[in-house]
């Protein structure tokens, strides 16, 4: 098919504005999926996505559409996540497209992620097709929302399709807009192959499957391809496109097309998302620009609850990383938790999702340490260190200046909640920048906030203080000097490395007390009393005690049935295997987790 009949596009939106539902309707209308095979959120095939009703992974699918001009078109639709943590997924997908459908909720209007994702699309020179969704809701006000899009984003929107993806209303208008407004891809099929890897995953039968956007040239089954960054060479086994539910081996892919390549790639390390694929025999001169590397912002230690599963955890992380290039990890050791990994995430939701995927998809039981950001520490001798693990925080006497990362946060909310939001940001050491009204009732606030104040629970608290109406987005601003201290937690007099963290001096006392209380709640009474202390340097700033258990006796006669008593002791011993033994203290997994959620 000629390039001018191809349309590569993605759908961007704020979370919950109906991206995945619109994708479902488009699949139906183009009869890509038989109605009987249709299920909600079809492209979100991870359980965790369906349960949470969100998209985590971007996905690509090829559709066929016969337009009103009588011509057949090929659509390559890429569904993308909406949450701030998954921006990198969005930006990766954008490079494979010429256009983006911008879905805006007809009652909620523009939200923080609407803006963030739209700006990403504009940066990538994508044609934006605004669509107003959820017009079936009683509170829908498409007129106002279209105005908002024109005023805030500055793109024409008065003729934007007004649809209800849920009810299937006006979906055709969207399909026609894709044909008329989104440009066809350009690219010469005769030039040497140049294709961008925008995603990959591991299939246990076929090895690594890479998703590509072919920019120039052609790739066919049997070709020798080279992955330019690593130099690895493979022979193409399959080349084709993605159906809604399966891969279709088409034998070849041409410039302008989006599809997949399978080439018996066994090693996960050979494929890098953002790398360029070329033909080994007729290589192109230089690779495509690729992606800027996404930098993890939040770090935490992940340990197997059962130390023997360390190898399984490593394997699982390797496989997940293939599917999620933003995940980084390296081995670390903790006195308390044994062998594990320090993992880097894009944000807290990302961290939660990764943990959950590890537990579900790889059947692992995990212990996670408190999330930390990267602190920049300048030593008295001039040396600069970046600290992502509180355990490695240097002796304060050797520190000249300590700096923490700041973000520029943008919060959109109905104006009624401005007071609550300001109070929250104030409490999180935020610096107010400005506030502007988007219309009569909605405002956009800008704050500078320390990243470490938002990695714990900021978004949850923001939601609860605004009855769920506020939306939030942030971008990194750089480092700023700060009064930081390392807070240590001691059990029975010994520091538990996995519980140490770095915190602003002003927050240390309150946090220390809270952590001590949480631990007290979550460490069961045991044979010996357990003193819990929080300390900065050598100074104890909070203390709690788990009193010793007082009764644990089997005072009952069993007519010479000794086995029963013995079994009881053995069972008791078995039960304790789930606990971490720190000196004489037994600490259950839940205790480590409890300090992560201090406000619940």
């Amino acid at each position: 098919m000629a390039n001018n009949k191809i349309r590569n596009f993605c759908i961007v939106a704020h979370i919950d504005h109906g991206k995945s539902t619109l994708a479902d309707r488009i699949l139906e209308k183009t009869e890509t999926v038989a109605v009987r095979d249709m299920e909600d959120q079809l492209l979100d095939n991870m359980d965790i996505e369906r349960e949470r009703g969100i998209t985590i992974k971007a996905r690509a699918v090829r559709l066929k559409y016969t337009a009103k001009d009588g011509e057949d078109y090929i659509f390559n639709l890429i569904d993308t996540p909406g949450h701030v943590d998954f921006n990198y997924e969005v930006s990766r997908s954008l490079v494979a497209c010429e256009g983006a459908i911008l879905v805006v909720d007809a009652s909620q209007g523009i939200e923080a992620q609407t803006l963030a994702n739209t700006y990403l699309a504009i940066e990538n020179d994508l044609e934006i097709v605004p669509v107003v969704n959820k017009i079936d809701l009683p509170s829908a006000d498409p007129e106002r929302v279209c105005n908002e899009v024109e005023n805030v984003i500055g793109i024409p929107a008065m003729d934007a399709p007004r649809i209800s993806a849920k009810m299937g209303t006006n979906i055709e208008e969207v399909l026609e807009k894709i044909v008329t407004d989104i440009p066809a891809p350009v690219g010469d099929t005769d030039k040497p192959l140049k294709a961008l890897i925008f995603d990959s995953y591991y299939d246990s039968y076929k090895g690594v499957i890479i998703y590509v956007r072919v920019k120039e040239g052609t790739v066919k089954v049997g070709d020798n391809i080279r992955l330019m960054a690593t130099g690895a060479v493979f022979t193409v086994v399959e080349a084709g496109f993605m159906n809604a539910t399966s891969l279709v081996n088409n034998g070849s892919l041409e410039a302008g097309e989006v599809g997949y390549i399978s080439a018996s790639i066994k090693s996960i390390g050979d494929t890098q998302v953002g790398d360029t694929v070329t033909n080994n025999d007729f290589p192109c001169d230089e690779p495509l620009e690729g992606y800027r590397k996404v930098n993890p912002m939040v770090f935490s230690g992940i340990y197997p609850a059962d130390g023997a599963k360390y190898g399984d955890l490593r394997e699982a992380l390797e496989k997940l990383q293939l599917n999620d290039a933003s995940l980084s990890f390296e081995p670390e050791t903790s006195v308390a938790l044994g062998f594990g990994f320090r993992c880097g995430f894009l944000g807290l939701l990302h961290m939660e999702i990764i943990q959950e995927r590890l537990e579900r998809e790889y059947n692992l039981d995990l212990i996670t340490t408190a999330p930390s950001v990267i602190y920049k520490v300048t030593m008295t001798n001039g040396e600069v260190q970046y600290i992502d693990n509180p355990t490695n925080y240097p002796d304060p006497a050797l520190i000249q200046t300590a700096e923490e990362p700041m973000v520029k946060a943008s919060i959109l909310s109905p104006s009624d909640y401005v007071g609550n939001i300001m109070e929250l940001c104030q409490d999180r050491r935020g610096i107010f920048k400005d506030m502007k009204y988007l219309d009569d009732t909605r405002v956009e606030l800008h704050y500078e906030l320390p990243l470490n104040e938002i990695v714990y629970d900021f978004f949850d608290v923001l939601k609860s203080r605004t009855k769920g109406y506020a939306s939030f987005d942030y971008e990194m601003l750089g480092y700023t000097p700060s009064k930081l201290v390392k807070l240590d937690i001691l059990l029975n007099g010994d520091i538990v490395d996995a519980l140490s963290f770095i915190i602003h001096t002003d927050k240390a006392y309150a946090r220390a007390r809270k952590i001590a209380e949480k631990l007290k709640e979550n460490i069961p009474r045991q044979l010996f009393e357990v003193p819990i202390q929080a300390a900065i340097g050598g100074k104890i700033i909070a203390r709690e005690t788990v009193k010793a258990m007082r009764k644990d006796v089997l005072a009952k006669c069993y007519g010479g049935d000794i086995t029963r008593k013995k079994k009881l002791l053995e069972k008791q011993k078995e039960g304790k295997k789930r606990m971490r033994q720190l000196g004489t203290v037994e600490v259950p997994q839940e205790a480590f987790m409890s300090v992560l959620k201090l406000d619940s």
């Binding site: 045991q526 044979l527 010996f528 009393e529 010793a548 258990m549 007082r550 009764k551 644990d552 006796v553 089997l554 005072a555 009952k556 006669c557 069993y558 007519g559 010479g560 049935d561 000794i562 086995t563 008593k565 013995k566 009881l568 002791l569 008791q572 011993k573 304790k576 033994q581 004489t584």
Partner: protein
Amino acid sequence: MNTLGIYIHVPFCGKKCSYCDFYSVCYNKMQADCYCEAVLRNIRHYADKNTLVDTVYFGGGTPTLLTAEQITAFIDEIRKCFNLSEDAEITIEANPNTLKPEKLYNLRKSGINRLSIGVQSMNNDELKFLGRTHTSERAGKAVNDAIDAGFENISCDLMIALPNQSADSLAYSINTLTDMQIQHISAYILKIEENTPFNCKKILDIMPDDDKTADLYLQMTDMLNKKGFLQYEVSNFSKAGFESRHNCRYWKCLDYIGIGTSAHSCYKGKRFAVEPDLQAFINSPVQPVVITDDSPCGFEEFAMLRLRLAEGLNLNDVELHRKSIEKKIPPLIKAGYIKYNGENISLTEKGFVMSNSVIEYIIFS
């Protein structure tokens, strides 16, 4: 000469108590007669004239539902089949309601010289709650009648940590019991077992918590000590010289044979148990047993049992484990759980209430 204890289980009860999860069936004369026949058969099966039987124990169920004649027949059969020691301790468990003066007289005459009476409490509200059919007055009379019948070694069961049990009501039970001429008290903490009527939310909700239970237990130990009843095991207290010799066999890894449904044995290097099936026991020529342990009294078991005794564990007896145990002694002493004199570890009163954890800490971790 080898010594041996014989336990005879009598699974019949007039009424099952709400907290009890032992195997028992409703009393029926025909069945009881057949059961006694089977017991006699089994006594003959294990017969060994070269073995000195120095303790016999009739447990239940309610063994006193059997007639004194039936009990006499058992003791006579044991005397015929074994070398029954002149000063053997011969105990029978009894429900106060079954102890009429004449029955007591005949039991004494049959050779029974120790009574273990299921008093449980001297507080009528508590007895009613437990589903016991006797009153405190009836229990008191049974004890006095037993003394009149010539019993000089009487033990009473006492149950603590009952719902709503106050320090005062426990003190009342202990004072009333110890004011009588009894020599031994077995004190149990009420434990809700899975397949009993007590295992329901209504009861579980009103059970005393661990702290309250510990308080009651320590109150009891203290009171009994002051009355001259010394703690010699986690749940057992006696005047000097009146420790239960039969029960001590269990804790010292000495041989005992159990005869009857669900009876347990430790005999000739094996532990075995009879299945809880009345008909199978009655119909089998020899009681059907399952081996539960074919090398009993290893270190863990030996140490566990010894530590339940007030005399404690002598480290010379567990030389191999001495080093690893000695390391654990200081924190245990500091916490007040044990006493240690350089070779013997024994639990303190505080240690007894925590015995599961303390013993587990010593022998496993």
